[in-house]
Symmetry: C2
Subunit: 346 residues, 2 copies
């Protein structure tokens, strides 16, 4: 393949969004695809992972990774195919998981491999989209958040918000496999039905069913209280769960999608003193801390997939140029399953 004939379409961050990202926060650019340096490679993007965390990367200020700079290609993880290689680590045709960015091609030097987090993926373990879902960053987040911070014991009640999302479906299915009672929280009857019927959760609460729906649902479905809460959403739902935790409960703070596009201050959990009364713990998790153990979790989950014990659902939208609109599906709760942007078939 001659790289000279290829054009790389890119989407760059043009401005820091105030509230929900809008069209003018992005710029669409094109570049030539550059030849790899000695030891380097060129990757063609097949599919990108769209995640709530992206909203945080667009803000100025200190966080667990630096923000995306204005004018830079938007950061995104994904799966791609090596189309040119001067590396002995990657051959043309290899499928890789890497930080690709919202663009069609990326050229990496050997020096960049480690920081990029690139690794070869094995399609026998899962499909390209599964590698962005249960076998990818969301799956790792769910796995290590639940197991390392939540420390579930058989018989405990686990509640997970964003239950039909990428992290939520992993958390709930693993908790079931570990012998827990699992109650999801999701938006709409279709998601709730799927979570219960397809994934085998014990129950799922539709937070869109009306005021007080979460409180009533927790009362009905968690008669012994909530031992572990895996929080992807924050806001009122976090407060509702705090009011139902058991003594010694663990709350994993993975995200707060209800708060990411606030133009006012984040809503703090006004029921946080329930932590005191219940000698409970609220703890944050960042998946990158577990990178040296990803392979163990992938092996375990690939086994579950193979044995039919774990399912996954991806919501695949086609076309790089749809990125600005597609991203918003996450914040409107419109995605059903892990949101994936398909950039090329192969």
């Amino acid at each position: 393949m001659s790289l000279a004939n290829l054009t790389n379409h890119q989407i760059r961050l043009a401005a820091r969004p105030v509230g929900m990202p809008k069209a003018t926060d992005w710029s669409h650019t094109t570049e030539a695809v550059t030849e790899p340096a000695d030891g380097g490679i060129v990757i063609k993007t097949l599919a990108l992972s769209l995640d709530p965390a992206m909203r945080g990367w667009m803000n100025e200020g200190k966080s667990y990774i630096p923000p995306v700079g204005i004018g830079e290609v938007m950061r995104a993880g994904g799966v791609g195919k090596v189309i040119a290689s001067k590396s002995d680590k990657f051959a043309v045709g290899d499928l890789v998981s890497a930080t690709l960015g919202v663009q069609e091609y990326v050229t990496l030097t050997a020096d960049e491999f480690k920081r990029n987090g690139i690794f070869k993926i094995d399609q026998r373990a899962g499909t390209v989209t599964q590698w962005l879902n249960v076998l990818g960053m969301p799956g790792m987040t769910g796995y290590f958040g639940l197991m390392d911070v939540g420390m579930p014991k058989a018989g405990e009640t686990v509640v997970v918000s964003g239950a039909a999302g990428a992290v939520g479906q992993t958390v709930g299915q693993i908790a079931k496999l570990k012998g827990c009672r699992v109650v999801g929280i999701a938006g709409g009857a279709a998601k709730c039905d799927w979570v219960v019927k397809e994934l085998g959760f014990d129950a799922c609460i539709d937070y869109k069913a009306g005021p007080g729906a979460v409180r009533a649902g927790l009362k009905e479905h968690c008669p012994k209280g909530v031992d572990i809460y895996f929080d992807n959403v924050g806001g009122e739902i976090l407060d509702d769960v705090l009011a139902k935790i058991t003594r010694g409960a663990r709350i994993i703070i993975c995200g707060a999608i209800s708060q990411y596009n606030n133009t006012t201050a984040v809503q703090g959990p006004k029921n946080y003193l329930s932590l005191l009364v219940n000698r409970a713990r609220m703890e944050g998790i960042v998946v990158f801390d577990y990178a040296d153990r990803y392979h163990l979790a992938v092996a375990e989950m690939a086994g579950y997939i193979r044995e039919g014990k774990m399912k996954s659902k991806e919501d695949v939208v086609v076309g790089l140029q749809t990125f600005p609109d597609t991203l918003l599906k996450l914040f409107n709760g419109e995605n059903f399953g892990k949101l994936v942007l398909e950039v090329a078939k192969d």
Copy 2:
């Protein structure tokens, strides 16, 4: 001593306070002192411990212990002297720590001993008021909260609010003894001076010094951030500290005195997502969980007192009848040191 001649003055909860407790929330009653049953004792109250937690006991609703019932003698721990005994466990003249209630005398049956938490105290280990302070419930709270939940390592930076209070002075002094850098937060220059000069804290921030004083003080005195925060106050100060925590920080939720008399909802920590970014933990502590290890902590702290390595300050107010007003000193920040109500000299 003939019990028949004694009158027991008592203070009972007459109504559940809305906001700050007021005179009409209390009733003043008298009773005869009853003879002990077989195996029982009569205790004369010497001094009562006045604690922020009392405000919580006055509210209806689920907590770590049942609320004080309307019409009941207000719950209070204290030190008293056994003045009549039909027990082989306690002799007349013994000094005891017990749940005495806000009253001059209490008669206990043997069946009540365990639930009451009564135990003999040794005046060689500390004075009566020290037994309500560093050797008492506040000291135990500080000790186990810091050591078991905070898990301090030498060289770490520990911040404690309510630094001149009963729990705070214990936390800070133990943290210093464990090799930490210790920064207190207290109200007013006099308390701050005492905390630094007498207790040996590295610094103390006067939260009453004006808007932004805590933020500025943390920036100045915690250049490497906050590894452990022992929170007695909640509110804005908790948010200010959350903005300065280090990776892996531990926040011990011991109380939230700024919020106890709210007539509106508790102010939740709007910076709680700092727990996520910093993979940090916020955890509640209730001292009663550590009852089977109190003797170990008392032995350690009595050793520090004997060696001159630990000081304590009590703010002693005289007279049972002053209880309703004296309690308010806690919530106005007027007490300087552990607040003790002296009921009788001996």
